[in-house]
């Protein structure tokens, strides 16, 4: 499923790289630990987290993730936005908590990392 479709169905607000929503999301992963994401997320994964500092951009682009969803209404820091724009990495925000976001992604047919 294309990232743009997920953005629409979950009513996510796009904060960065709105031009890169054409990417195919192959899986989802939820974690707030950087090394955990690095170890388990695969290219094309949509990452759900509450971390908002700029290192999430480095972790996501290192792993060629499809994008990041920030939960609980948390907004990315200014440096995070700057770096994500530079890397062309989409960051979306939602007022929903992690559990809710993951549940909705799953019911859209986005699989976890088995």
């Amino acid at each position: 499923m294309k990232l743009a479709e997920i953005v629409e169905k979950l009513d996510l607000a796009v904060r960065t790289a709105g031009g890169r929503l054409g990417r195919e999301v192959t899986a989802g992963y939820a974690s707030d630990l950087m090394s955990d994401v690095i170890a388990h997320a695969k290219p094309g994964t949509l990452w759900v987290t509450l971390q908002i500092h700029q290192n999430i951009v480095a972790v996501a682009s290192m792993n060629e993730l499809a994008g990041i969803v920030l939960v609980n209404g948390r907004e990315p820091e200014a440096e995070t936005i700057e770096k994500a724009e530079a890397e062309g990495l989409p960051i979306m925000v939602t007022p929903l908590p992690t559990f809710e976001v993951v549940g909705r992604l799953y019911s859209l047919g986005i699989p976890g990392i088995a």
Partner: protein
């Protein structure tokens, strides 16, 4: 105003590179009524007029329409053509042609060979556009070939052994620049054309090593060596060193302070992640002295070969 590639080409290229060489000409004595066939059959809207092989004028569709509109008797081209022919020399730079088109508003110019004065071609604005585009395409193609070459750099380098060395300095506690060195190394390896799986493994291993330098040390250095078949990273810092290396290698074991954990680091998985990516990993550390970490990652072909054996 920046000097664009197109501007550069317009100065570099010559009229004879873009002009149409197969010149259709009409004789000055031809009746105007025959022009219709010439323009229609050749799909042109103007043509040079010659007499005894010499350029004497230029006749355009506009001249033809004027003649039709005037309902005059059939007359010869000579009487209706433009006689003050503006010409260009075949070896002039294109920029002269461009400025002449701008200045005079003509649709075409006859092109004359400078030495002989012979008519050798015709140039239109369309010829210039097509010529410049073609040249851009050729340049782009050469660029592509160049890029292709870069990806086979080791095949082009003539030596018994080749090693490329890249060094990165990492500043301790500088979380804002976390991942910068590893992403620069990643970009470099990509440009060298290493296979994507190797690049990813190197990037992840280097990222974890870089974050360890940032979280725990005053800073340090990452040296990446790229040679045929393998990439080796050596990561060095001057302290504080690891008290118990074996413990540090256990998944989940971490000495990171709480504020670092709050950022999502220090989960005690860094070294494990490096181990997972690496084909060989060596760690030597002494408290108060520093840590030396060596990571070897085999590239695609070597790894395949290793699996078979």
């Amino acid at each position: 105003m920046p000097f664009t590639k197109v501007q550069e080409l317009v100065y570099e290229m010559k009229v004879n590179e873009v002009m149409t060489r197969s010149v259709i000409t009409v004789d000055a004595r031809t009746p105007m009524s025959q022009l219709r066939e010439v323009f229609r059959d050749k799909k042109i809207s103007g043509t040079p007029v010659v007499q005894d092989g010499k350029l004497v004028g230029i006749i355009s569709l506009e001249d033809f329409i004027k003649w039709l509109y005037g309902r005059e008797q059939n007359s010869v081209i000579e009487t209706k053509m433009t006689k003050e022919v503006e010409t260009l020399y075949d070896d002039e730079p294109l920029v002269h042609a461009v400025s002449k088109f701008d200045r005079l508003g003509f649709g075409r110019f006859a092109v004359i060979e400078r030495q002989t004065g012979r008519l050798v071609g015709v140039i239109t604005k369309g010829d210039i556009i097509a010529g410049v585009l073609k040249k851009l395409e050729i340049d782009y193609h050469e660029e592509e070939i160049h890029r292709y070459r870069a990806s086979h750099i080791f095949e082009d380098i003539v030596a018994d052994r080749t090693t490329l060395v890249f060094e990165y300095d990492v500043i301790g506690q500088d979380f804002d620049r976390g991942g910068e060195s590893s992403s620069r190394l990643k970009r470099t390896l990509k440009r060298l054309g290493l296979d994507p799986v190797t690049v990813r493994r190197v990037a992840i291993a280097t990222y974890e090593a870089e974050m360890n330098l940032i979280v725990f040390t005053e800073g340090g250095k990452i040296v990446a060596r790229v040679e045929p078949g393998r990439v080796t990273m050596e990561v060095d810092d001057s302290g504080p060193g690891i008290a118990d290396v074996e413990k540090a290698l256990q998944p989940g074991y971490s000495t990171a302070p709480q504020w670092v954990r709050d950022l999502g680091f220090g989960a005690g998985m860094g070294l494990n992640n490096i181990q997972k990516c690496a084909d060989h990993m060596d760690i030597v550390s002494a408290p108060g002295k520093g840590t030396h970490l060596k990571i070897s990652i085999l590239t695609g072909d070597e790894r395949e070969a290793g699996r078979d054996s």
